[in-house]
């Protein structure tokens, strides 16, 4: 583990991470009223995990967030967004017409926006984690001399 001995970092980050997550949730659900929304929330939420990964190692992060899970979340986010659109199609509106989601168009809009923002948040969160892990995983492989990369190779898997 690269940072096993850095006690201060470990303690501070352990304290910090819950607050970051909380802030992300606030940004996610408060975006309708102030600045913020799914996108920013997703990034912040992910940053907490990135921090975790940096301090405690990629393997530990992957135990908490296995790759199948991030992929599932990644797909679930976009599908949730598009799914809201399909739902409004099914309910007789145009694609992404939230008016039909509830009896009152205003409520419908509200539900719709909350749902799609959530979808955005999920995808962005999972996306950033995925990208980070890919780069970090590559770095971990890079220091491993047992796997020389051949020129012209499509890549090792």
């Amino acid at each position: 583990m690269m940072m096993r001995r850095k006690m201060v970092l470990r303690v501070v980050s352990k304290l910090l991470i819950p607050f970051i997550l909380l802030f992300a949730l606030y940004v996610q659900w408060h975006g309708d009223f102030g600045p913020g929304g799914g996108f920013q929330a997703g990034v912040i939420f992910a940053s907490a995990f990135v921090l975790y990964g940096l301090i405690f190692g990629l393997g530990t992060l992957r135990t908490a967030l296995p790759s199948w899970l991030t992929r599932l979340v990644l797909a679930a986010g976009v599908l949730l967004y598009a799914g809201v659109g399909v739902a409004s199609l099914m309910l007789g509106g145009n694609f992404l017409d939230y008016d039909v989601l509830a009896h009152n168009p205003l409520h419908g809009q509200h539900y719709g926006i909350i749902l799609v923002e959530f979808g955005v948040g999920l995808t962005v969160f999972a996306g950033i984690i995925t990208i980070f892990c890919a780069f970090a995983g590559r770095a971990a492989a890079d220091v491993n001399p047992s796997e020389p990369e051949q020129a012209g190779d499509t890549g090792n898997d």
Partner: protein
């Protein structure tokens, strides 16, 4: 059925778009392939419904989110748009069945499902570009398709695929950003992003420097995406080193969609009067188009890698499309439009045939293809057939395009242009014939004389597309009608 008819414009986009995440969830190459193929074929039928609907009921305007333009995003599908959607989904429905064997040979197994996911995203992005009526939405879907394209190209088995993808990424992003700058200026002058709305607002500010510069930026931006000479530098390597199935798909669709988007922007957004004329850029565009026709063909003649040869030929063919637009009368414009369709058919089938070659002999270098006529008679015949189309031999689609183009040039009295078109076809004869000669009149290298044809799963899709290239060359009424009426609509503003 009314549901289908009502929402068909958006369905053609979201079906492949929503299918893509499922591929990632599956994590299984064969299952993803089956799923992607199913979706592509389904989408092909949807696009047939779409074009029928457009042809009977006229242009579809679909308000996404129920917000009408210019406040929301609208989809606006006219005849050409529907034709472009049909091209994309038809090519996808043919390339995907083909892709299985080809991708299994060229891409490591763990990445298959990712490749299919990217394929679906690319399809959705391209279709989204074709149907949108919102100038900024165009950018978003341009990026969806572009990002997927970069990844697909980088999957090629040669390491040069990586650099090809990165260079394309850099130039493509520059192009897209140029477009965004141009669009920003238009928005600044009009306050709208909706294409129809822009068209009605632009005449008032048409003579401002801002709008002129905006047009220039949009043309350069899309010029990069559609490989307009001399902005084509990314294309040859990208097509050469991408996996065969990807090359076939991209060559058949990507540049055409960009051309179509440019046509839309120039003629419907700027189109209150003939924009090329009123902005005084007709000669420049025409010169670039002709230069592209000749430069592309001339460079193609000297290539020793056949994929690369065809890639340069694509640069030349894009020149034809742009030339058709720049001449500015209905037949020439129809020629440009119909060539988008026709070129998709011929280049698609040619690259698929080359994929067969690569599958069997592991190379597409000219010298390695010696004696191919004997070793792989069906594949070689397909290459010859596609080559005829490139030349523009009658009864192939290439002839129809050239007929319209030359007709347009002559109607306008530009007979030197007509002669130049013909001369550039001669260059096509030369590069096609180089390949044919090597395949049929040179003996194969020692040790590979025996016959070994590509598997049926590769050959059948190739021949389906090739058959289409002949079918629409023999009976061009369908495509000709659409192109002609679309051309008249596009130019309608100028009369």
């Amino acid at each position: 059925m009314t549901f289908l008819a009502e929402h068909i414009a958006v369905l053609v986009v979201i079906v492949p778009l929503m299918a893509a995440p499922l591929c990632v969830v599956m994590r299984c190459g064969v299952a993803s392939w089956g799923w992607a193929t199913l979706v592509a074929v389904g989408n092909f039928f949807l696009s047939i419904v779409l074009i029928q609907h457009v042809m009977t009921n006229g242009t579809i305007v679909y308000d996404l989110g129920g917000w009408e333009g210019p406040w929301g995003i609208v989809y606006r599908v006219d005849e050409v748009g529907a034709l472009v959607v049909l091209i994309i989904s038809a090519i996808a429905a043919i390339v995907l069945p083909y892709a299985k064997e080809s991708i299994e040979r060229e891409i490591p197994k763990e990445r298959h499902y990712l490749a299919y996911c990217m394929m679906l995203l690319c399809i959705a992005g391209l279709i989204g570009m074709a149907v949108t009526g919102d100038a900024f939405n165009l950018f978003v879907f341009l990026e969806v398709s572009s990002l997927a394209t970069y990844v697909l190209i980088a999957l090629g088995s040669d390491r040069r695929a990586l650099t090809a993808a990165l260079r394309y990424l850099i130039l493509g992003t520059l192009g897209a950003t140029f477009y965004v700058i141009g669009l920003g200026m238009l928005y600044m002058m009009t306050g709208s992003l909706n294409m129809t709305d822009l068209a009605s607002l632009l005449p008032a500010v048409q003579n401002t420097g801002t709008v002129h510069v905006a047009l220039a930026f949009i043309v350069v931006g899309f010029g990069l995406k559609l490989a307009l000479f001399p902005l084509h530098v990314w294309l040859p390597n990208a097509y050469t080193f991408a996996p065969s199935a990807v090359t076939a798909f991209l060559a058949a669709t990507a540049t055409k969609v960009a051309v179509y988007a440019l046509i839309r922007l120039i003629f419907t957004v700027f189109g209150d009067v003939d924009p090329l004329e009123s902005y005084g850029v007709r000669p420049a565009v025409m010169v670039l188009a002709i230069a592209g026709m000749f430069a592309g063909s001339l460079i193609a003649i000297y290539q020793s890698n056949v994929k690369r040869l065809l890639a340069y030929s694509s640069v030349a063919q894009v020149g034809y499309m742009i030339l058709g637009i720049s001449i500015g009368n209905a037949p020439a414009m129809a020629g440009g439009i119909i060539h988008m369709f026709n070129h998709a058919l011929m280049k698609g089938s040619l690259f698929m045939a080359l994929g067969c070659v690569f599958y069997v002999i592991g190379s597409v270098k000219l010298e390695d293809m010696a004696g191919l006529g004997k070793r792989m008679p069906l594949t070689a015949a397909a290459i010859v057939g596609g080559g005829f189309s490139l030349i523009g031999v009658p009864l192939t689609v290439g002839f129809i395009s050239k007929f319209y183009l030359v007709q347009g040039a002559l109607t306008e009295g530009m007979w030197p242009v007509a002669l130049l078109i013909m001369l550039s076809s001669l260059l096509a004869v030369i590069y096609v014939w180089r390949v044919v000669e090597v395949m049929y009149f040179r003996s194969p290298a020692i040790g590979c004389e025996e016959r070994s044809e590509a598997p049926m799963s590769l050959l059948v899709p190739t021949y389906v597309l090739l058959g289409a290239a002949f079918w629409f060359g023999i009976d061009a009424t369908f495509t000709g009608d659409i192109a002609m009426s679309a051309a008249q609509t596009l130019l309608g503003g100028s009369k």
